[in-house]
């Protein structure tokens, strides 16, 4: 499910507030399907957020992050019109990159 992320980046005072929704199953590897077989783990492991090319957040995730993950944080030094890029990669090699502009 590599649907685009929903990224909101907005100025809150002198900080840029970033809110992200990602489309991902975040399968734990412990759930059984209807035939009783274990569904293999499938989850986002790394998230990196860059602002004008500089990393402003990096995260490691396990399968306990909820399905269709949400992330919110804030950083200084940004302004309206700046570019935010987010990359995630999962444990099966899936990945997705999306961008947003600070408003």
């Amino acid at each position: 499910m590599a649907d685009p992320m929903r990224i909101r980046a907005s100025m809150q005072g002198d900080k840029v507030l970033v809110r992200v929704l990602m489309s991902h199953e975040m399968e734990t590897g412990q759930r059984k399907d209807e035939s009783g077989k274990i569904v293999p783990a499938h989850f986002i492991q790394n998230v990196t957020v860059t602002h004008n090319g500089k990393t402003v957040l990096s995260a490691e995730w396990g399968p306990a992050v909820s399905k269709n993950p949400f992330l919110q944080f804030q950083f200084a030094g940004g302004k309206v019109g700046d570019k935010i890029q987010i990359i995630w990669t999962d444990n099966k090699g899936g990945t997705r990159t999306d961008e947003a502009v600070v408003n």
Partner: protein, 269 residues
């Protein structure tokens, strides 16, 4: 069974009625905080975005988009359409809810077969539902619009009255009807408030918040799914997707919610 025993039973039954369970205030406040924390940044937006793409995508044997689909307010008019559904459509000579109308448009505009597009109408871990995405997209275009479902056409009125009968119809091993859980005000199942769907205020609050992102499933669910899953828990057989029964019940619920301001997709437990 003696007379005395029956009398004792009656007294016991009365005694049971005295101590009504009061919701634990601290627990309910905590749950309220939980719901507030989830109200923003609703993953339903992911479905809305995919629905918008699907709406405009050229698909099916005819390679057409749904952009000319008439949801009741004219071809291609999406804004406010959901707040007036279900409604009678002359071109099909039938009352339709949103999903039934989407099937109609997929068949007539895009050339799909109805059986094909409704084979797996609900999404899961290994399958994504186009209806759930499209319903999220269409419903979101009615945010802030007052529910205004008409019973002017005889078939609309008939659907409502049939839906009402179904709502109160008891059956199955548990004797459950829709009304068992949704016919009284101020009741909870576990910690979830049960809307009284025969009461305007409760019906408005409930109906205007579907479709919803169901956090327990991580899926966007629609009214068709809601009815299907209620019947599962009523211990009934499986309701057919976009069936007349589903439309009649939806008509009953939607009309009861008239006047409520539409505010979906919402977040649901």
């Amino acid at each position: 069974m003696t007379k005395g025993f029956i009398g004792a039973l009656a007294m016991l039954a009365l005694g049971v009625g005295i101590a009504r369970a009061q919701p634990d205030a601290g627990t309910l406040r905590g749950i309220e905080k939980y719901r507030e924390a989830l109200a923003e940044d609703n993953p339903a937006e992911l479905w809305e975005a995919r629905g918008a793409e699907l709406w405009n995508a050229r698909r099916g044997p005819k390679g057409a988009s749904l952009a000319q689909c008439d949801l009741g307010k004219g071809p291609g008019v999406v804004k406010g359409a959901y707040a007036e559904l279900p409604r009678y459509f002359a071109d099909a000579d039938r009352v339709m809810d949103l999903e039934t109308r989407l099937v109609h448009c997929m068949v007539t505009l895009q050339g799909f077969s109805a059986a094909e597009v409704t084979r797996r109408p609900f999404g899961g871990p290994d399958h994504r539902s186009d209806f759930e995405a499209l319903a999220a997209f269409v419903a979101a275009q009615s945010k802030g619009v007052k529910m205004n479902v008409s019973l002017d056409h005889p078939k609309e009125r008939a659907a409502f009255l049939l839906g009402e009968q179904m709502f109160f119809y008891r059956g199955g091993p548990h004797d459950f009807a829709c009304a068992t859980c949704h016919g009284e005000s101020n009741k909870r199942i576990r910690l979830q408030d049960l809307p009284n769907l025969t009461d305007a205020k409760d019906a408005q609050r409930a109906y205007t918040t579907w479709p919803g992102y169901r956090v327990s499933q991580g899926e966007l669910r629609t009214m068709q799914w809601r009815l299907n899953d209620c019947f599962r828990q009523q211990r009934f057989p499986q309701l057919k997707f976009a069936s007349d029964t589903s439309i009649a019940l939806t008509m009953f619920l939607a009309h009861n919610a008239n006047g409520g301001v539409f505010n979906a997709p919402a977040v649901k437990r």
